[in-house]
């Protein structure tokens, strides 16, 4: 008996169980029946040897990676935690591994390995993280992909999971107008390439129009989905003397920056200016005043993305478009009153 000190392989197990490696492989994968006595011997040998199959060898031989990739533009904000949570849970449940790439640091020089056909079985792609060219290439070779919060080019047939941005925005603006008589409502756009933002703006415009308010381009500015950027933008707006009585921030993070800028300028929220956000991140109800916003089922979007991706991977027909329901959450930053802080808004409707 050679006392090689390297980790056991399937061959060692086979030898010990007195079967062929093919048989070991079969009990490992459980797809093909194996005689109970042999199967037991194999299992015992695996246990004794503490054998763990090498992933790489399996992947190479089976041409399946057992891995799902998530591609993000960046990891930041309160938004990503629930989303990751949803995706991770879904992937785990499906028995896959979870590889994550963020594009945030396009380090000079290091072009960094692409996630794609050769290292994953499918990709979940968040808006703004993969260019059309790569998307097209992957689609052409029929590689499973789902898009998050991004409509694909018409020519590509890629399932999309997103939320009701437009109607959410409409609810918000409707409420500002109808509930609080606001007329000059600033809209803060999200970051470039972030599709949520364009839908929200569309909802904003339609609501305006429905109430006979003419759209004023002066009232649309860029806020990013980021409190600092929103802060700066609102300061600038005030400096320029633009008049407004409400702000629809691109998302909740931006709304924070808006409120800070307003407070600094001595404008009272919601007395002088109503502020509303989007997403209903956990902290929205803790800020002062508590933020009126749209509840987005972020974690479920992640789960649903995995679910559709799995259909694709398993050759089933996926839903072309999954639109997750959003919901108006009235708190105080719009001008509504609320006796006390209510329990958390529903995460699992």
């Amino acid at each position: 008996m050679t006392t090689k000190n390297r980790p056991p392989t399937i061959g060692d197990v086979a030898q010990r169980a007195k079967v062929s490696i093919a048989t070991v492989s079969r009990v490992l994968n459980g797809k093909v029946p194996v005689a109970p006595d042999k199967a037991d011997r194999v299992r015992a040998a695996i246990e004794e040897l503490q054998f763990v199959p090498r992933t790489a060898a399996r992947v190479l031989a089976s041409r399946k990676t057992g891995t799902v990739g998530l591609v993000l533009p960046e990891i930041s904000g309160a938004f990503f935690s629930p989303m990751l949570r949803g995706v991770e849970a879904g992937i785990r449940q499906a028995g896959y591994d979870f590889l994550i790439h963020s594009m945030q640091t396009t380090h000079e020089g290091i072009p960094h390995r692409q996630l794609g056909e050769h290292n994953t079985d499918g990709l979940i792609v968040f808006t703004g993280s993969l260019d059309i060219k790569e998307l097209t290439r992957l689609n052409r070779i029929n590689f499973p992909i789902v898009l998050l919060h991004q409509t694909p080019p018409e020519s590509l047939n890629i399932p999309v999971i997103t939320i009701e941005n437009k109607s959410g925005a409409e609810m918000l603006v409707d409420h500002l107008i109808e509930g609080h008589g606001r007329r000059r409502i600033v809209y803060l756009q999200g970051p470039e390439g972030h599709e949520d933002s364009v839908w929200r703006e569309r909802g904003y415009r339609e609501s305006l129009e429905a109430h006979g308010i003419t759209f004023d381009p002066e009232l649309v500015a860029t806020g990013g989905f980021d409190d600092e950027e929103a802060f700066a933008t609102i300061q600038e707006l005030i400096l320029e003397g633009v008049e407004f009585d409400a702000v629809f921030a691109g998302d909740d993070d931006a709304a924070m920056g808006v409120m800070r800028a307003l407070k600094l300028a001595g404008r009272l929220v919601p007395d002088d200016v109503s502020v509303v956000g989007f997403d209903d991140i956990p902290f929205a109800r803790y800020v002062s005043p508590p933020l009126t916003t749209i509840h987005a089922p972020i974690e479920e979007v992640g789960r649903e993305a995995v679910s559709q991706l799995m259909r694709l991977i398993n050759g089933q027909q996926p839903e072309a478009l999954t639109l997750m329901r959003t919901e108006l959450v009235l708190r105080e930053s719009c001008g509504c009153e609320s006796g006390e802080i209510k329990p958390a808004s529903p995460m699992d409707p």
Copy 2:
């Protein structure tokens, strides 16, 4: 010419460039010099064929996965976003892939593939996510691991990255006592097995002692690192008639729950009760009143963890213990005054 329609392999490239596959491999990896003309031919062939090497094959042949794993107990709270961000950035910069596993869903039945020697080159393990047995096993085979916020058993020689929990807690409690004359300070423990919590409690006790205040077990309760749990605990404390004039919540998330419970009970913060947190998550300054807390360099902890792991992977001597500096951030929830909301507390000192 056979028109096989499968993705090109290194052999196809070699054939096209009229060199051996060994040479292609060499230009791919760049470790061994190759004649410039051949190298150019190879690069051209790769480009034309759109060749991408199969990760699995490389891993199998080289016995290196090029992947780092992160093991977490769960993905939640405002804490994880910056941490993930730091880890991801570090791993990317080091040219590795990033596999993430969370233990949150120990789905019945699905024991789920372990992250370990066979699918990663090293592991970053967050407190509470791997049991001693597995840790010991991995350590015995000399597998690169760093621990986050958790001291390893003495027998194991595993590098640790953590933050100055104890001195941070001391600063906080010192301030509560010296700055605001508080004497009956509640301490809310974090979740079971979370080491940060025990250090914070130690700091709490030492500060008490240093000020001649006797420790009262009645004032220590469990709050989780979670606003709902903290909320419930504070409600209970009030119901039981426990008297206190300050609360040191386990972390900022818990502090939110504390403030909500207090508000609901009609206790004013900070007039009746001072509240302080720990971590300085981005929202800490936006809540009402703005939260006094300890700033923890979470993202840097993530980066540093990768950095130490890389030393281990590359056979260099790592730092046995990396203690990241924390800093007191005075806002209003303790009773301090602040004229206006200040810009973000420093994330990159």
